[in-house]
Symmetry: C2
Subunit: 107 residues, 2 copies
């Protein structure tokens, strides 16, 4: 039973960026708070803007969340909560299976 | 996210055999009710007896569950219930992730 690991997926990174931008943020703030290289952040920001999840305010040079970005973030929180719950359940099932296998194989 | 598929695992087969034997059964009854070839059943029965999950009553030529076999079956039911629950949860998480990915990639 693989997957659902603990590394940051693309979705996790997008959510991290949006979380920082939800408090209005300049690029450098996002870079540090979302823990991303300048290069990677630039790539993500381009994609995220194309998906209309954030917008850029030229005057103050900062990023803000769109309502679509807000929706993404809310759905992400729900997804993340369920994901953690399922990971725990998956682990319980593995423990139960191991106990059964031991009951079957110990002679 | 792989695994936890719908094929019969080794544990599922053992549990199917034990379920039939829990009602006292002859080899042919187990074969048909657990849906196994004679060859495969013979292999499993040898293992299951070595693990002290069933015993063979020579006089009536039938298999019966030991208390250890009873314990296996009870634990298996609990495991199976949790497994189904987690599979459902895993599927929900996949649906939620897909919706997020669409929100991110649709432009």
């Amino acid at each position: 039973v693989a997957g659902l690991g603990s590394y940051r997926s693309r979705l996790d990174i997008v959510a991290d960026i949006l979380l920082v931008a939800s408090r209005r943020a300049k690029k450098t703030q996002i870079m540090y708070q979302a823990n991303l290289s300048h290069k990677l952040l630039t790539k993500y920001l381009t994609e995220i803007r194309k998906a209309y999840l954030i917008s850029f305010e030229r005057k103050e040079r900062c990023y803000v969340l769109t309502s679509r970005g807000q929706e993404f973030l809310e759905r992400y929180k729900d997804y993340s909560r369920h994901n953690k719950h399922v990971e725990k359940g998956l682990n319980d099932v593995r423990v139960k299976r191991k106990a059964l296998e031991e009951l079957y194989s110990s002679r």
